[in-house]
């Protein structure tokens, strides 16, 4: 009874580099990556807001799948729980409550296109720089998925200060939202 059942297929060693080859994982990753890319492009090009939100579901589900492939089981499941189960539902709820209209929306493809492209490029640059700088050539351990208990231990020991800071930040955002929404 090992918890590593999600890693069904095992691979051999690459004769050229000596590194480990995981065939099934590579195929699964390729399928997910292509699906995610296509959905992401469709998400920003479609003129229907509800369709955009539904494409976002596919992208986020793919992200959860990639996390699980990397052995970050808890993060993957949390991705499903928080993003698909809560945030997208709120998106759809908001769209349907305010618009509820059908077909393409003319106002979607607006004047902020260049701004959005700039923000996107900036986020990509910062994330790529941070990731490359952090990991360099380090190979992640793929033999065993990370256990939820270990994640919990780390959050409440080594990373307790960032964790608390984020909690306070979220609380502030929550209160701020209520204050803004009340309007009195």
């Amino acid at each position: 009874m090992s918890p590593s059942t999600l890693f069904a297929a095992t691979g051999g060693f690459d004769p050229l580099t000596g590194g480990e080859v995981m065939v099934a994982q590579n195929i699964a990753f390729a399928i997910m990556a292509v699906t995610m890319l296509v959905s992401a492009v469709r998400m920003v090009t479609t003129r229907n807001v509800v369709h955009a939100a539904l494409y976002l579901v596919i992208v986020l589900a793919g992200a959860a799948g990639v996390f699980i492939l990397l052995g970050a089981e808890f993060v993957g499941v949390t991705q499903v729980m928080v993003y698909i189960g809560a945030i997208i539902v709120l998106f759809l709820f908001g769209i349907m409550l305010t618009r509820g209209s059908f077909g393409d929306d003319d106002g979607v493809d607006g004047e902020r296109r260049s701004m959005a492209a700039m923000v996107g490029a900036l986020v990509l640059a910062v994330m790529a720089a941070a990731l490359v700088d952090t990991f360099r050539d380090a190979e992640l351990s793929r033999a065993q998925p990370s256990l939820t208990a270990d994640v919990g231990d780390l959050i409440f020991s080594q990373y307790i200060v960032p964790f608390e800071a984020i909690s306070v930040l979220l609380l502030a955002a929550l209160i701020g939202a209520i204050v803004v929404a009340r309007g009195d």
Partner: protein, 345 residues
């Protein structure tokens, strides 16, 4: 991962095929049992009538007749509907159901996936069905459907919190998210040093059990929480425009989810496939485990359907107040109390 089931050696692809087949059984069997036993028979008896009696002995083949009826119906799609989203919506709901059945173990070696996040995964995938319901409500291009979808989303988001928080007490007590681990914790548990019946968590987590069942009732949009499909106001809410096979898929999804949530409650609070007096690692449980689990599932489902057929519908504001002002604070108190007692004992 054990590659033998009852001493039969199986290749990986054979195991996968067997799992897919058993997954189908795991979804359809609870749905069939619940529909026949409770929707056809128990509801009829509670209303002083016999229910279906013609098809087969005591109407036991009525299920097949119903499925046959749905197969014959025309697959109607409203002219103004968003066809792709409309067609996909029932599948999204069924995906959620099929993923949900994966986490439930039916014996020491009988499980689909035995992963570390177990119960957390179940709660996460159960929330996918909300998207299917919203898709159905929006794509139908009907006011009834849209309002029904919105009500369903509001209700499901509100009751997901008590559902998750009620499970927290069990997780704290068992010390693991793994469902098999929760069963083992109950099987090997002791009540003040007496291990005669293990320690089914319903004894210590009764508040959690009650909150879980109420939240499940709301998650299934069953009466008294059936505002999203309130037939006197909304025809049938987000299901209004569906017919034939697609309606059947929503129907199976609802009752299969009811069965799987009942099995989940039985696993977390009643000891799952374990019966007291035997060694939990005994190979015998690979045979009787599924039967024990189904028995306990029917017991929990009986409670759910008893409430369903007894109580009148909540008003929308009462429904939201019950979740936010009563169930969520109560489940938070339950978590704090469980945490303190866990440290003390």
């Amino acid at each position: 991962m054990s590659s033998t089931i009852l001493a039969i050696e199986l290749a990986y692809w054979q195991q996968t095929g067997l799992r897919a087949l058993l997954g189908l059984v795991g979804v359809l069997l609870p749905a069939g049992i619940l529909v026949y036993l409770f929707l056809f028979k128990m509801m009829s008896f509670m209303q002083s009538r016999l229910g279906p009696m013609e098809a087969g002995p005591y109407g036991s083949l009525q299920l097949l007749a119903e499925v046959g009826k749905f197969f014959q119906k025309e697959d109607l799609i409203p002219a103004a509907a968003d066809r792709v989203v409309f067609k996909m919506a029932p599948f999204v709901v069924l995906i959620s159901t099929f993923l949900l059945v994966l986490v439930i173990p039916a014996g020491p070696d009988l499980w689909f996936i035995d992963i570390d996040t177990g119960i957390f995964l179940a709660l996460a995938v159960s929330s996918i069905s909300v998207i299917g319901i919203l898709m159905a409500g929006w794509a139908s291009a009907s006011k009834y459907s849209l309002i029904g979808g919105l009500r369903a989303a509001g209700q499901l988001v509100a009751y997901e919190l008590p559902l998750v928080l009620a499970v927290m007490g069990v997780v704290i007590q068992a010390g693991t998210l793994n469902v098999q681990g929760i069963v083992m914790a109950q099987a090997s548990g002791e009540i003040f040093g007496w291990g005669g019946i293990g320690n089914p968590f319903i004894l210590t987590q009764f508040v959690g059990f009650a909150i879980f069942l109420i939240a499940v009732q709301a998650e299934l949009t069953q009466p008294p929480f059936d505002m999203p499909v309130a037939e006197s106001e909304l025809v049938t809410g987000y299901l209004t425009e569906y017919s034939g096979l697609r309606f059947l898929m929503f129907f199976i999804g609802e009752f299969a989810t009811a069965g799987i949530f009942s099995a989940l409650a039985a696993t977390m609070f009643l000891g799952g496939w374990y019966v007291p007096g035997l060694d939990p690692t005994d190979n015998l449980f690979n045979v009787i485990g599924p039967l024990v689990l189904i028995g306990k599932m029917v017991l929990v489902a009986f409670l759910i359907f008893w409430f369903r057929f007894t109580y009148p519908r909540f008003r929308e504001d009462q429904l939201q107040q019950l979740a936010w002002k009563f169930l969520i604070p109560l489940s938070l108190v339950n978590i704090v109390a469980t945490g303190i007692l866990k440290v003390v004992f």
